[in-house]
Symmetry: C2
Subunit: 473 residues, 2 copies
């Protein structure tokens, strides 16, 4: 049991573990609240909270006057999860730009159902509260727009980030942190600090297309490493890749890989950091969804196991507070100074007002309270999308069981073509992210990623339509 | 006479031309207001305005009851101008990072007299007005922080930029414009769109160190091209460089080169664009100071002569409205799409609130009125700094006569060492920008750049101190 969640979260995790391991299967009735309270020696109210959370997460259904039942999506049928890809382990140049730009432009069209790009749902973000913080900063520091911020970032924001890092198991000095124009810039600067043109970067397979675009823009080469939809990148495959190639950096999302939603267990994170540390290979850890576990406490960062200053830990506030502010950060270890220099050459400094307002929000805005709501919403919406897919998509479709974030990875039967589905869906006013943009080799032809940032009847219907289209894709 | 200034500006320019050409020399009494009005057939009030402007610009002194006299700084003694550097015309790798970062950190120390980095003076920027625009946008669009902006930028801001481009002689479609995180990102993306690692870039000599840092970060190589403190880059030298090398791009500041303040005449701009166009070489035009001529109308952009879509025109609002907002832009010609893709990989999108507030300011904020005041301040403060240098610095010192912007380039006698002076000045609490950071080969050892963004007694005294230190440098 994880020590750093609240009690009801730990109870919920224990139960979900039993479900995921197959101890309890779809349709099973789980113990009553009273029975479980006795069994675990916790209060009735704690158990009730845990059951509510499990409901939000889509693990169980509550039937009035009857009891609590394991839902279909959560049955431990591993055969229904997307398969681990076994990519060829040789380097490749990268080019996914054109398709990505198309998908992004669809995302800005209000007529389109936005299941493609990972655009946060404004209704889930604390717009008014952030607005009040912006106004407060402007009142207190009217000249804040009139100066360049420091290249390394707003000192108060860096302090707040260092404080919050403790919840991910990290003890950071604020001087190691550089704020950036979103996590995108953070990752990009990390590549600049660790690689030279032509360098080899090992990436998860599948991996966020934005990272592939950076690799392309910097004229680097990528090697794909097999990644499991449950536990993340394969360490055996990574080890073999590192032994056979001169790898300049590994980019990884141990917490809720985009698109898989996988969560690497803590012990595996430790092994990952040790494996790379032993060979002096920097790990660029993209932790942008780290604050959005599905109801449980924030997972540790791989950075927390870094004893050699070789982990470059990146995240942002774009998915949790404000995408428009473009505020991210990186704790760069031994590369911190190089990152700061590259940032100067790239964008000089980050927006002063946005940084100060976010610092204020972190200090006095009820960020943790907000995150709790966001996590429940993520669990609920991801569960809903998964149910809708299960209901509508062709037989043989496999679906990932994300442990955090707002994304759902779907594997269609092998003969299906997600690029074709993307075109058909676009004509039907629905945006999706086809699998090949998540791979330098354009693998995952029969996969797609759905965003669960939005959940309403329109989305529900759109997934029905997608399911019908998928029959013909 | 330039056609697109107001009448009094044209009168002022005519007189300053006579002074610069040596027709009127230091100490000469120039015609009375009445006499000149008759001579030029303009009203008394127009001539009075022109004389006030010339005073602001530091060309003339007005002695009550006596008349108007040419000031010392403006004597046409070309021998007192900084010499044109004749750099060796072979490529070089670039490395100026460390020194630049030191100078920048000095700029954020409130104890230091800020004559180093080109940090705008908050007192010259319309903080309150911009703040009201920010508040208005937040009221009207409370969710603006909750969405990613489009990668290409806020449509309204792009429209406003396209409208203003007319004053620089350019007719742009807003769809050619990509907004960026300051001009720094704009220039950096332009290098990405035109060059590959190892590519050769021709740069002015001297040139803004930030550009050299981008070249370094992208593993490009630079060739320095002789640049005149009056009229900008030497076309003969550039032509020879292009004939002898495969140049992927030329970066140039035709309007008010940083650090020289030079202004390329319109005919020369036309020739520059033609020269590069004939060989298919892209011109990256850094126009960040284009809106700050010393009292006269905004000069044309080289982009206005671009018939082949080969000029990438970059600027920002950092020197005129808000450095903290980090909003710049580029009109990328045939590279516009590539720039947009690179921007996605670099920072994804620009801050939504800042873009909307600046669009609002351009549309309804009295930007032109504000610019008139800023231009007068620039002329006045640059004139004041030049006078102070002339008074305090060692014999044999040469000073550029900037036609716009807030920067003053100073050439000490050949035996002086500006790196030594930088260290001595730092100990005395004064920041300066030593010459070698403006050159990939660390030339200009006996030169320095002074910022004139601030002018007060403290700055005046600091320049006295610098002058004394320079004797020993």
């Amino acid at each position: 049991m994880k020590a750093n969640g609240t009690l009801y979260e730990n109870v919920a995790r224990r139960i979900s573990g039993l479900i995921e391991s197959g101890t309890w299967r779809a349709g099973d009735r789980i113990p009553s609240v009273r029975a479980l309270s006795r069994e675990l020696e916790v209060s009735i109210s704690t158990t009730l909270e845990a059951y509510r959370l499990l409901e939000d997460q889509g693990f169980i259904d509550t039937k009035p006057q009857s009891g609590h039942y394991v839902k279909a999506r959560c049955s431990a049928d591993a055969a229904q999860r997307p398969r681990v890809a076994r990519p060829p382990q040789d380097p490749t140049s990268v080019s996914v730009n054109e398709l990505v730009m198309t998908i992004l432009s669809e995302g800005h069209d209000p007529e389109t159902v936005p299941l493609g790009a990972a655009l946060p749902n404004p209704a889930l973000l604390p717009a008014r509260k952030l607005q009040r913080k912006i106004s407060a900063v402007l009142r207190r520091r009217p000249e804040i727009t009139c100066t360049y911020g420091m290249t390394a970032g707003d000192p108060e924001l860096r302090t707040q980030i260092a404080r919050r890092a403790v919840t991910a198991g990290c003890t950071l000095d604020k001087d190691e942190i550089v704020t950036t124009t979103g996590a995108q810039e953070a990752l990009n600067l990390c590549l600049g600090a660790t690689c030279k043109p032509g360098s080899l970067v090992a990436v998860e397979s599948p991996i966020f297309y934005g990272i592939l675009q950076m690799i392309e823009a910097r004229a680097l080469r990528a090697i794909e490493v097999a990644t499991d939809a449950g536990e993340g990148i394969s360490l055996a495959a990574l080890d073999s890749v590192i032994k056979k190639n001169r790898i300049s950096a590994v980019i990884c999302m141990p917490n809720f890989n985009n698109p898989l939603g996988s969560l690497m267990p803590d012990e595996k994170k430790k092994d990952l950091v040790r494996l790379l540390g032993a060979r002096g290979v920097p790990l660029i850890e993209d932790d942008i969804y780290g604050e959005i576990p599905h109801g449980l406490a924030r997972p540790r960062a791989a950075k927390s196991y870094d004893t050699k200053d070789l982990v470059l830990w990146c995240s942002s506030f774009s998915k949790t507070l404000s995408p428009g502010c473009r505020v991210g950060w990186v704790s760069g270890g031994r590369f911190a100074r190089a990152i700061e220099e590259l940032k100067f050459a790239s964008t000089l400094a980050t927006n002063t007002l946005s940084q100060a307002a976010i610092a204020e929000f972190l200090a006095h805005g009820g960020y943790d309270h907000h995150l709790r709501g966001l996590r429940r919403a993520a669990a609920h919406q991801v569960g809903s999308v998964i149910q809708a897919v299960r209901r509508s998509f062709p037989a043989g479709t496999r679906i990932a069981s994300p442990a955090g974030g707002f994304l759902v990875w779907v594997e269609l039967p092998p003969d299906k073509d997600s690029l074709k589905l993307h075109r058909m869906a676009a004509r039907a006013g629905i945006s999706i992210a086809p699998g090949p943009i998540f791979s330098p080799r354009r693998r995952f032809r029969n996969c797609l990623r759905l965003s669960a940032f939005f959940w309403n009847e329109r989305v529900d219907r759109a997934i029905d339509v997608l399911g019908q289209l998928a029959q013909r894709a």
